[in-house]
Amino acid sequence: MTAANPPRGKGPLARREARLAWGLLAPTIISVAAVVILPLLAVFWISFKPVTLADLRPPTPLVRESLRGGPKAPGDAGQIEYRIRNSSQDKPILNVTLTDEIPEGVEVGELDPRCALEGRRLSCRLGDFEGGQSERLRLPVTLTEAYFASGADIRASAPVVTGESVNVLTSGEFTLENFRAVFDSREFIDVLYATTFYTVFGTIGAIVVGLFAALLLNHAFRGKGILRGLYLFPYVAPVIAVAFTWVTLFDPFSGSVNALLVQMGVVETPINFFGQRPLALVMVTVFEIWRYFPLSFLFILARMQSIGAEMYEAAEMDGASPFQQFRWISLPMLMGILSVLFLLRFIWTFNKFDDIFLLTGGNAGTRTLTVDVYEQAFAVSNIGAGAAVAVVIFCVLLVFSIFFLKYVSREEGL
């Protein structure tokens, strides 16, 4: 008797199902690859490139055409002048060419040796242009009867110039200068410190405040729904609105908080909350806690409400006090969600850019790694250095992602 073997490999139905699945996933995969994977690879590439903001505008040859010598009547001689220049002051353009259409009735005299005329089509090979170089190309012409009769204009057809410029982004030139610029600067230690402070305290703070808020709303009372909605406001409102509100609120000259503190006699002179070290870093962290506690609140509340009442009743019978019940029942039950929240919030606080950028612009010791990307790339116009910081961020995130895959995806049941 032969043993019953399960069929090996995939049957046609399974293959069809898999094909359909990939078909359904294709738009997602393609779009994510185009907007996430490709840019990530590009960041690595750019970080080894000496590229600045100015390099994004490649040098182009520019041309202006004019008719000189003032020919007014048939038979008059004149010149067509092409003034060609390199738009960039320091980068060369290779193999510049010019083509133009000469109107009917214009007789062309002696041609420049670099030019050729085929029918009415003029084409010139002008060679290489250094940075800042400009040149006048003159073409002696005689205007005939036909030209004036047709009412044509020399400039009716715009001349076309082309040229090849060396683009730093695609050239074979590489450098480690970007990384040196990032690591060498004394600011980098500051940046790492600000990032760590912001991430650690922002994460813990948001979770603790969220836990407290959840404890407040973890029993039924009238108006609970309204309060729950209200507590979500900071998270739901656009970051730009709340960040500017905070800046207005804490303004040293016209801010209400300073006015309040002075009036209540807490401080003598107004405090520049977002403008001085180390207060600014504390303030952006407080903002982070304020804006993201609703998220932990929502999660923790949902988890709390799924803890059965029997356990508390039993503990009550055994004489456990309210704090003991919290310590020995609620907290252990919440540990799972708290650790997931911690990991998630940690990563996202680390990644946060908008909040600090809007509150302080990264000044007064609040420049985190993500803000540094922007500062290097756009404020200092050194895109390469910005990309180098981005690579540093990415490496840190690789470490996080190991934790993420190990713990979060298990908790989330993926």
């Binding site: 750019i46 006015a259 009036q263 209540m264 990644n351 961020i393």
Partner: protein, 403 residues
């Protein structure tokens, strides 16, 4: 801790702390409401807190706290309460502050200390009283930190620059101006093109929602229902995308858009926005699809529907609530998006609302315009949120895997 567990220790102590909280709250609220000089006196608050303790005794009866509240209000009017009121404050505001303080300090304290007694306390009774104190304080603090910024945002937008600089605390409205209080809004819509920004933000968000749903529904269905190699890996790694900070991606996107001429175009924005929301939408939807009974779909397959017909005729109608949540959540993300709009748009004719508000943050534009812009950006999303809170909260919970 043990030394605290006596009624004559815990009662006055909680009283002291609570009156301090109440006095500070009343002073802050009245300052913000009237701009007048209200100032909590912590010494007087401590004295009053201890004095209020007897009002909670059983002998004082139910009327105890009410009498205490009346006494405290009267004392405050006489200048002996825990809130010191400046000379310039009008009688009406004084009366409101005194009544608010009396009621806000004495009545909740009566509730906190109810049944506490004067002698030794059980741990249970003691902690219950502490928790009641913490609960009341917590509600006050949370209400303050959430409400004050939004209150200041709205009120600042209705004031004039001079009034703000003269007294930053005075948020009382000058109602004589009538419709004139809305001047900032009128100017934003008339001179700063905000009507157009609203419309741009709206259609960009709606298009983002549509494209996101079109792409993520089939993807989510595939991950939730179909068997293929790499399914687990895919569903795990899709969320890894949110570990990459947007600013890291924005840099190459900026370069690519600069070189291809997509920068400064709305279509460029619409190319990018959906991709930032597709993974989270896919994640939310696949979770929901998994929860639907597969038998219904299998019945449909048996009856001769193709997979795509099953999705269209069975799965989607069953998941309308989830679709609403996802759509709202995606709409919120697109509406609030700032970084990409800020980096990719330079032309004021093409701004989205958030980019338009960012433009107002300059020294040449008065503060109240900036705040009015913030209100315009916030109100639509708040209305959506309040109107559809159930869906929105579900979306927030399910979508919180995105930062």
């Amino acid at each position: 801790m043990r030394a605290l567990r006596f009624g004559f220790v815990a009662g006055p102590l909680i009283g002291v702390f609570w009156v301090m909280v109440a006095a500070t709250t009343v002073a802050v609220v009245m300052s913000f409401a009237t701009g007048g000089a209200f100032r909590p006196s912590l010494t007087l608050a401590a004295v009053w807190g201890a004095l209020l303790w007897p009002a909670s005794w059983r002998e004082a009866g139910r009327a105890g706290p009410a009498v205490a509240a009346a006494l405290m209000a009267a004392a405050t009017l006489a200048g002996l309460g825990p809130v010191v009121i400046g000379n310039g404050v009008g009688t009406g505001a004084r009366a409101v502050a005194a009544l608010g303080l009396g009621a806000g300090a004495a009545l909740p304290l009566g509730w906190m200390l109810a049944g506490l007694g004067r002698g030794a306390l059980s741990r249970h009774a003691f902690e219950a009283a502490v928790i009641r104190f913490l609960t009341a304080t917590g509600h006050v603090i949370f209400a303050a930190i959430v409400a004050i910024p939004f209150y200041v945002m709205v009120m600042t937008s209705l004031k004039s620059q001079q009034a703000l600089l003269a007294n930053p605390l005075d948020f009382s409205l000058d109602l004589d101006k009538g419709w004139g209080v809305f001047r900032s809004y009128v100017e934003l819509f008339r001179d700063f093109n905000f009507g157009r920004y609203l419309w741009t933000s709206f259609y960009v968000s709606v298009l983002t929602v549509i494209i996101t749903l079109l792409v993520s529904i089939p993807g989510a269905y595939a991950v939730a229902r179909l068997r293929f190699t790499g399914r687990t890996l895919f569903s795990r790694s899709i969320l890894l995308i949110y570990m990459v900070p947007m600013i890291v991606l924005a840099l190459p996107i900026y370069i690519a858009f600069s070189m291809t001429g997509l920068r400064n175009t709305i279509s460029g924005l619409i190319l990018i926005y959906p991709v930032t929301t597709i993974p989270v939408a896919l994640y939310m939807l696949q979770g929901y699809f998994r929860g639907l009974p597969a038998e219904v779909e299998e019945a449909g397959l048996m009856d001769g529907l193709t997979r795509l017909q099953v999705i269209w005729k069975i799965t989607l109608p069953l998941s309308l609530p989830a679709l609403a949540s996802v759509a709202l959540y995606v709409f919120m993300i697109a509406w609030n998006e700032f970084l990409l709009a800020f980096m990719l748009l330079d032309d004021p004719a093409k701004f989205t609302l958030t980019r338009g508000v960012a433009m107002l943050n300059s020294s040449e534009v008065p503060r109240q315009h900036l705040m009015a812009g913030a209100v315009i950006a916030t109100v639509p999303i708040m209305l959506l949120f309040l109107g559809l809170e159930r869906f929105m909260t579900k979306g927030l919970t399910a979508g919180s895997v995105k930062g």
